[in-house]
Symmetry: D2
Subunit: 337 residues, 4 copies
């Protein structure tokens, strides 16, 4: 149930409605929009009666939600969410490009790539300190050492940092260093991790699972939102299909599908979504043309010696060339970088 407050309702009005809802035994989540506030009611087993809420003071109307997600639903907010990190906005018309190496390997490597992607116009630096790897014998990331490198490179370049947290035990430490915390495709339904991310003070970049439906992606976002953190960026990164010419099949229809159902922004990862360097440029352009709010792109200055995912990383020059095309397409579809 979504409780829409009257336009001029004050913070006190909202707080009183929240208290009244919680007194009924539900949970209340105020969602502040630009023009009005909505209070979502959750933790409900059966159907609710709008009349029970419409009598509360300064409440304009109560709207039942038909889909199983509430807080991230399109109805919960007037207009799309814009996530702002260190002064840089993403969503609601602002396009953000997140680029960097798959894994943080050294300060030298990370700093060189960060300078290159910044020069080409990237807005955020990506790089994994904790790496989920299929094999226990593969390079698993530098851990906290990697986080420290990322933080140092942020100071040197000014680029905010996006990096992955893999479990509840290290989430707080990652939050200490990162500007945005990534929850990876294999963790999209790691519900304890999602719940802890909901109590975290950092924006969350939530990647779609390789076999997740749009509904499941939004329900996982709802876990985070229900915990109190509504700064969520979704990410399409390819799904598992029979088609073997790419590592995954990038499902760009996820972009309009998410926007029709949710106020959250959605970006695209063409690097994991194809697994092939020679396709990243084409699918990046396509993602922006389809309405994505940003890109998550792997760039490496020496991909042949990368410790992970070299085959899908762009060279800095390729990235710079692609950025010119991205800027032009963004203009066509009414986005600003």
């Amino acid at each position: 149930m979504l409780i829409v407050m009257e336009d001029g309702a004050s913070e006190e009005d909202v707080a009183r409605v929240v208290a009244q809802i919680e007194a009924m035994g539900y949970r209340a989540h105020p969602i502040a929009g630009t023009t009005r506030t909505t209070v979502a009611v959750t933790a409900v087993q059966g159907p609710l009666n709008p009349a029970d809420f419409e009598g509360l003071a300064r409440v304009k109307e109560a709207i039942p939600v038909s889909q199983p997600w509430t807080l991230v639903s399109r109805e919960a907010r007037v207009g799309p969410t814009q996530v702002t990190v260190a002064g840089r906005a993403l969503g609601a018309g602002r396009l953000a490009i997140i680029a960097g190496p798959c894994a943080v390997e050294s300060h030298e490597q990370t700093a060189a790539i960060a300078r290159a992607v910044k020069a080409a116009g990237a807005h955020f630096l990506r790089g994994g300190a904790y790496k989920p790897r299929t094999s226990p014998y593969s390079f698993q990331g530098l851990g906290e050492e990697g986080l420290k490198i990322l933080a140092r490179v942020r100071e040197e370049t000014g680029l905010p940092v996006v990096t992955e947290a893999m479990d509840t035990e290290t989430l707080d430490m990652v939050a200490d260093y990162a500007d945005v915390i990534q929850i990876g495709t294999r963790s999209m339904q790691n519900f304890p991790l999602l719940r802890k991310a909901g109590r975290c003070r950092r924006p969350i970049l939530l990647k779609r699972g390789m076999s997740a439906t749009i509904e499941e992606l939004l329900m996982s976002a709802e876990y985070i939102a229900a915990g109190g953190n509504q700064q969520i960026i979704l990410c399409e990164r390819g799904i598992r299909t029979f088609a073997a010419h790419t590592r995954c099949t990038l499902d760009l229809s996820a972009i309009p599908a998410v926007k029709a159902r949710s106020h959250l922004p959605i970006i695209v990862d063409p690097s994991h979504g194809t697994g092939r360097r020679d396709m990243v440029r084409f699918l990046s352009r396509a993602a922006i043309a389809a309405g994505a709010d940003g890109l998550l792109v792997e760039v490496h200055n020496d991909p042949d010696h990368a410790l992970s995912d070299g085959a899908q990383s762009l060279l800095p020059d390729q990235f710079a060339g692609m950025m010119d095309e991205i800027r032009a397409i963004a203009r066509v579809v009414g986005m600003t970088l």
Copy 2:
């Protein structure tokens, strides 16, 4: 094996090499490029020895092909193929938009839609006279009556006509009326039909099967080419996956994948690829941004009463609005309409 002729080789030189190859017991297919001619050697069970061919007069070199397709391989031609229909080109930098109703229902309906899409900038008219329908009790198309309507609307509007042939028995009749013959997704591996299309004098629009790999799509094109018809346009139209928010999952990575392997042009069908009117615009833009050579779009002036696929057909106004964006994105990626 591909036999590359010297740059100045004459038609007689090529004809002599063709005769010599056929005398060895193989089939020879001359593929004329803008600057030189290649002769493909097929109908071969085992490996061939380049030396057997490099001694022939005016032969520059003989190149073994590693992939199972030969005639449609990228190596078989210098540069991409451009298919020209009634003075309108598609491929090699020229973008073509094919639009119209799913099924031809009447002259009035077809003519109205044709005028609307032409006014919005479409280059070809699509419309089914023979319709492959899952149910034997659904509308199966008007048959020859539908073909006559298409031909009449072509005369009235000047738009060349693209329409489907479903079997070997009616292919010749479809070829009598159509400018481009479509082979649908359910027929991609109808090998007798492909073979007959190879002997046809019309360009063929070959749609990817719902569970076909890129390799299988190219092998089906090879059937047509091996029959002597090299005017082939491929079409990505979505694959079957677990994702249920769209009817199929449009695989835009097929575009760079085809272009890396073949000289044939590839277009995209966002209508069948999503099955949802509200997504066509976004995926159409994405297809062009990804490098597609064209679009195949369903447009209907009264989709709620369409005899098939109304839910995925654009209204004429929606199509016109989309065309403006398509034109702008085409410019960014270096295509001309």
Copy 3:
């Protein structure tokens, strides 16, 4: 709509009802069961009113069908269909094993394999004279020569013959030689072929398409039944998925799914369903345990030199060993061979 006749209704009674239904502008299909006759009404655009039919003489009741298939629906018949070929039954408790080479290569090869599979207990001989092949340069089958070999081997061994027809042009010729006509996975939605098979006097073995749903499989069977041929055997042969350890993923849940929706028998092809000889035995056992009405198995006496699909063909000894297990499992699930 299904019109259930009273138990003692005579052929004349049924004929009169058929005439009355057709006089209303519909098509009527009598389906004779062991205890009573049902008349299916098709070619209907909108909903029908049971009352319009329940007044007809000797009609017990009129049952609207909710699913889009009518003639092959479970409701259309009391109990499952049993297809009988040359005295050998399949379905309704009788298990039938169809075995033989992928392709007919020579009389010697076909006869040797036929004798071996007959000795091991097979009931039908399979073998392709027309082969759908991904590549135009692969062996395409011996054509009519292959059909003649199959007919000769049938005379020598007494095994009825199952072989594929690929197009409407050769269907009649295949029907002249074959006891059961196979429509292959790539032809499951070749609607002109299905329609012609509906007018054919031979039982049809219809294989599920690689990306076909159960609903689509049943609708394709409905095409055949609507043409007047209700001797239809369905076949699960694996679907396209991301899993690459087999050529396709055999979907044994198709067996109970079909039986819940249709009176038609369903068999399983573990050879194409896995593409691997070492898996055929395990999945054959599983298919029978899941309730399949039979198996379609590739057996070759010299698989390393087979002209097609050698890697998935059992050796005659392996087939014989498997048959012992099949017989024992059939007993457990109440089937007789």
Copy 4:
């Protein structure tokens, strides 16, 4: 690299070889078989030279492993692994049936179901205390209270308990109560959890991810084995495909595929694998016929009021009827219950 010890090698001989391998900078994992011991060498970046190991005392031979998993590979052990829990064996010819409710709801419900499944012949009790749920608003399990109920019911019935651990934080507590710890499909690539399970003293039941390949499943098992825990049971539970007549598509070819690659046992979950009560019986029979080492089946005494997954739970009577068929099929394929 696998170091095969001579047949009569003593524990001291093995310990000395282990020490020598670790002195070289690698990790050594002794794997005791019935007739001989193998020592697996892991934590290796590049290729190893067998000659470096074959000179060690009492070493028979050193075998390089080509696949990326070592400890769980078929070559690492003579014969299949048998996991024994509280005196009850699973694998290597012993079939085990694990049955019970999806979620533990109360002592009364759990005890009633446990008694029923025990009477029907089940060997283990399953039941979730921590439930991974798509929605944050769904019943999430009773937590430790549920674990206590399971332990009490174990005492009452003698059935060992299988229950899921969802995160590293509660794994130890689950291990305190459970006999076998389940790692669910959504956690198959939760690498921190796998690593901690590797240090756990309980057998692990590892379910295949919904979009995991066989290789990825084995690599996840390798994580657990590399941590020191080689008591691992794999579980096929269905994969995501386009087919919508079941919740997932049960991939029974996973059974022979795993057995060809690994010494670990594999069981099947037909409840989640189909999501439909009316299919569980058929797919359970098929799983055993295909060679599975056991079943994981949901049984509920009041499925219409179950707090999760009621639609796929068998009634106790249905489970008992199925067990008779399972026993008969097990005999055919040479398994003992």
